[in-house]
């Protein structure tokens, strides 16, 4: 444990990642291997050389990585040098960052270290992350990165956070139990039992299948509950902080104005509780999203579950002036019934001078709200079948890749109107946002 170092040392001299990071990086693999080894040696009464060998290899690889990796913050850049045979020098211009995440997997928490991950917009860029450094230092590094990103002096201390919303774990559990996924799990369980009673001769294969499916849904639900456990949103002058996690704890910082779109979802099974969920999208590279094996993944919830009022309030905080209301009019003309018979009801779109909101969905609507200032391109698509019906679709892209604004199967006149006006409105919104 190195403890917090004086700030002066963090800036200009090269530092290594935490000496324990090889252990943490190899952590899960090693724990798994040692468990297997323990079970095996207990049953076979001989030392588990193979498992021990693999664990040693993993740790040696980690130590090599630790030896060849160094980083520093200098000249408005985060600089990371790494690689043994193929040297890699990563230079991250801090004015370009989309966010800073602090991720602490379970093993890292046991050792008091954290991973700092810088979110960048570029596709295919090497992920810029420091895995792992001491927790206190990670917090100060985050403050420095964000201070530089906002054009402040690097030594400006981390501004105070103001908690604005906390979601109690009980509600997260309840929401997980009321999710469609868990519902399917119950259906699998019931069908397994029904098949078992009705046709006892196929009991074994039926049980295996249904319980496997049940186990899968349980694991998926458990993952989500664990990831969104103890969800907190805090406001800091340098951005919005999102913290959560039962085993793996993560704290995302999303600077204001970096949010590309927000999605408002109301699952059917949550209806009795009046709950809604907000998800958000920033311009982040796909590799950071997936989280390669050594790097921990983050969630996409802005507000995992809660009342409509809370969601509306939070939405107005991140996108001032946005309401999240379902667009009123059904914008799709009658012929579209042939193309989207089930989804027609909620295929709506409307926009004002600042936001575009579109809803999609069959049973329950989900609404995507995009600031017009974030629009990257507007596309018109008209297939042969649509042309016959005098329909056309308009799509709106932002730098986030999760959501596309869509006005599918509109009347040709309305679609033409949208394509003609949206780019101009987006331009005015960009100008207004800059001013």
């Amino acid at each position: 444990m190195t403890g917090p170092e004086p700030i002066g040392q963090v800036t200009d001299s090269w530092s290594r990642v935490h000496p324990l990071s090889p252990v943490v990086r190899a952590g899960r693999a090693v724990v798994g291997l040692l468990t297997i080894a323990g079970v095996n040696s207990a049953s076979q009464h001989q030392p588990p050389w193979d498992a021990l060998g693999l664990a040693v290899v993993a740790i040696v690889a980690g130590v090599v990585y630790w030896r060849v990796t160094r980083w520093r913050i200098q000249g408005g850049e985060l600089q990371i040098d790494t690689g043994l045979l193929r040297r890699q020098q990563i230079r991250v211009p801090l004015t370009q960052i989309q966010g800073v995440d602090l991720v602490r997997p379970l093993v890292a928490r046991m050792f008091g270290v954290a991973e700092v991950r810088v979110v960048l917009a570029s596709h295919g860029a090497a992920p810029a992350r420091l895995a792992y450094i001491a927790e206190e230092r990670a917090v100060s590094v985050r403050a420095r990165l964000l201070a530089i990103a906002h054009g402040l002096d690097a030594d400006v201390p981390a501004p105070p956070e103001r908690p604005i919303i906390a979601v109690p774990p009980s509600r997260i559990i309840a929401a997980g139990l009321a999710s469609a996924r868990f519902g399917f799990g119950i259906v699998f369980l019931v069908s397994g039992i029904v098949v078992g009673i009705a046709a006892p001769q196929v009991i074994a294969p039926a049980f295996t299948t249904f319980f496997l499916l049940l186990a899968l849904t349980l694991v998926a639900t458990g993952r989500q509950v664990s990831a969104e456990w103890d969800f907190r949103v805090a406001e800091a002058p340098d951005g919005l902080r999102l913290e959560s996690g039962l085993l793996q704890h993560r704290a995302e910082t999303v600077p204001y104005g970096r949010i590309q779109a927000v999605r408002w979802v109301e699952p059917l099974l949550w209806r009795p509780f009046g709950w809604v969920r907000l998800e958000f999208d920033v311009a982040r590279q796909r590799s950071a999203e997936r989280g390669d094996r050594q790097s921990a993944a983050t969630t996409k919830a802005l507000f995992p579950v809660g009342s409509r009022e809370e969601a509306r309030w939070l939405l107005a905080r991140v996108l001032p002036g946005a309401t999240g209301e379902l667009p009123v009019s059904c914008g799709v003309p009658a012929p579209a019934l042939l193309r989207i018979p089930l989804a027609r009801r909620y295929a709506r779109m409307q926009h004002d001078a600042t936001y575009l909101s579109c809803s999609t969905g069959r049973v329950r609507p989900s609404v995507v709200i995009m600031p017009l200032a974030k629009i990257q391109s507007v596309r018109w698509v008209q297939g042969p079948w649509s042309r016959k019906l005098n329909l056309a679709s308009v799509y709106v892209d932002t730098a986030g890749h999760r959501y596309t604004g869509s006005a599918a199967f509109r009347g040709v006149d309305e679609a033409q109107q949208l394509v003609a006006t949206l780019p101009g409105l987006a331009r005015d919104a960009r100008r207004a946002a800059r001013a």
Binding site: Q260, S377, R379, G383, D397, T398, V419, R427
Partner: protein
């Protein structure tokens, strides 16, 4: 969109597409006709040749229409690109959103002195490609777009 001046790719693009079509269509037709003619009867071979010729002509007509469907227009603040005959697409890309511009030329394109200009924005779904420009035009367009993009660049 009626006030927009659309520009088309070079006629070289049509010549290049036609060459590829003939390079594929004529030998295929010939081989099929000969095989059918030798294995079956000579009239069958002639019929196969006729079918091949008609198919090649039909594909050629589709390619011609597809070539005609390509167009781009530089407006004050954004670039318009349209394409497609079956599925018609139109993309509007503001200059300020361009991250970088690619100019590429494959072997057949190079024979005809052509190049493709591809615009990249921060959105992966943005589909903005102008194929079949004369090399010089492509380079002019690239520089022009880059200058416009620089002047209007906005953060994400």
């Amino acid at each position: 969109m009626s006030d927009v001046v659309w520009r088309s790719p070079s006629t070289g693009m049509w010549r290049a597409r036609r060459l590829v079509l003939l390079l594929i269509g004529v030998p295929t037709t010939a081989v099929v006709a000969i095989v059918v003619g030798v294995a079956g009867a000579a009239p069958a071979g002639a019929a196969a040749a006729a079918v091949g010729a008609v198919a090649t002509a039909v594909v050629g007509w589709l390619l011609w229409r597809r070539y005609r469907a390509w167009g781009y227009a530089e407006r004050a603040d954004d670039l318009l690109i349209r394409r497609g005959i079956m599925v018609r697409r139109l993309s509007v890309v503001p200059y300020g959103r361009m991250q970088f511009i690619d100019v590429t030329a494959g072997p057949i394109d190079r024979m005809y002195g052509l190049a493709t200009v591809q615009l990249h924005t921060a959105a992966a779904a943005t589909d903005a490609r102008i194929p079949g420009l004369d090399r010089a035009d492509a380079e002019l367009l690239r520089d022009h777009l880059a200058a416009l993009g620089e002047a209007r660049a906005t953060g994400l």
